[in-house]
Symmetry: C2
Subunit: 232 residues, 2 copies
């Protein structure tokens, strides 16, 4: 049994119950078997902080009732996955309108509208193009096979997990947690001083550590300059 703010790692494979089609997986072998393997994706157990709501509701809710190393198959209703399908969320355009924008419409083609919304062309007939704005998985019941493969318990390890989340690949970043766990000092390495999103990443790291690890913590970020650095 896990509780809110627990840090766990899970492996999972999700399928469309109706078609059996694999929609996502953290396991390389499963991705290859299903023909959805991508070289750009990292296949490895995924960090879940319970209460973060980064997963679909049905999957995250089930995790609270599981144990470390337990594997389970879960059926998730559309309401607890990607929502119900709204038949009203269909736009109809003329073929001409799309052609003018350089798009040759065919079923299955994703379309982005100027307001940012996405749709998928469902059908083309009689000069008209029917575009479905529902999430592609809306209305579908899903089956997830999920295993809790690891739990992070120590405060220091949780902090490291969050550092890796917001500063991936930045090996030189060091942290010092005070004895009384009231102050976390984060030493930023000079090579990222001028990265444009540095301030945002500091804020997000501090937010996550305070929200999920030590709520009364003060997170202090330090950068230091010396003559040799200035003269580079």
């Amino acid at each position: 049994m896990f509780k809110e703010k627990d840090f766990i790692y899970i492996d999972y494979t999700g399928k469309d119950k109706n078609t059996g089609e694999v929609i996502e997986t953290t396991i390389e072998e499963e991705a290859k078997k299903a023909g959805i393997y991508s070289q750009d994706k990292k296949y490895e157990p995924q960090l879940v902080i319970l209460g973060e709501h980064r997963l679909i509701k049905g999957l995250e809710d089930s995790l609270y009732t599981m144990e470390l190393n337990e594997e389970r198959e879960i059926e998730i209703s559309p309401e607890n996955a990607y929502g119900l399908r709204d038949p009203a969320k269909v736009r109809v355009l003329s073929i001409g309108e799309l052609r003018k924008q350089g798009v040759t419409p065919f079923p299955g083609l994703p379309v982005r509208f100027s307001d940012g919304s996405m749709g998928i062309i469902k059908s083309v007939s009689g000069g008209r193009v029917y575009i479905d704005l529902n999430h592609p998985l809306a209305g579908k019941t899903l089956i997830y096979r999920v295993k809790v493969v690891k739990e992070i318990k120590e405060v220091k390890d949780k902090i490291q997990v969050l550092v890796k989340r917001w500063f991936p690949g930045v090996e030189q970043l060091t942290t010092e947690l005070s004895e009384d766990q009231k102050v976390l000092k984060v030493i930023i390495p000079e090579k990222i001083y001028l990265e444009t999103d540095l301030q945002t990443r500091k804020l997000l790291l501090a937010r996550d550590v305070i929200k999920y690890v030590l709520e009364d913590l003060t997170v202090i970020f330090q950068e230091s300059y010396t003559k040799s650095l200035i003269n580079q």
Copy 2:
């Protein structure tokens, strides 16, 4: 007598020796008298760190030989001001070319070229427009009336001057210089954590303090986050 890295404040008024026209001044009354007063400009003594080369050479060079509260009139040759005039630096365009870009040419109009260079229309005749690319003050001998009104001597005061240079209007920024003057800690106030040029300003403040005040200093910048800040 001042030396390199001294911090002084000067008031000055510079004129074109030939025409007597005032070209720049730090004194409000002089600006009004000369008809060049601008509401956007702050009329106040200007900080000079000797060796920074932010002033024209002839003016900065003279300051080394002056005393506090001394006032002096200096004649500066073009070579020590804005350079000699290069007669080859003139472009000729047809009136038609300029009109096409929406410009109605007349003498005195400043023009910016697509490569970023600036020029001033000298004359328009026979369908041709003559544009001078020399600095408007090139070739001119200048007369500066200059007074050294203040000197900053204390290390701590110099640091404050530089803080004000790079973080103007940021009253809440505090600094702590260690007893041995080896470490300067700069506490950044939260209201500027997300300003886009924060990292550049930190670098420039550290650079100036190390270059002009304490060369073996380590400048440490600190930002801290707590629950109340995260939840804002």
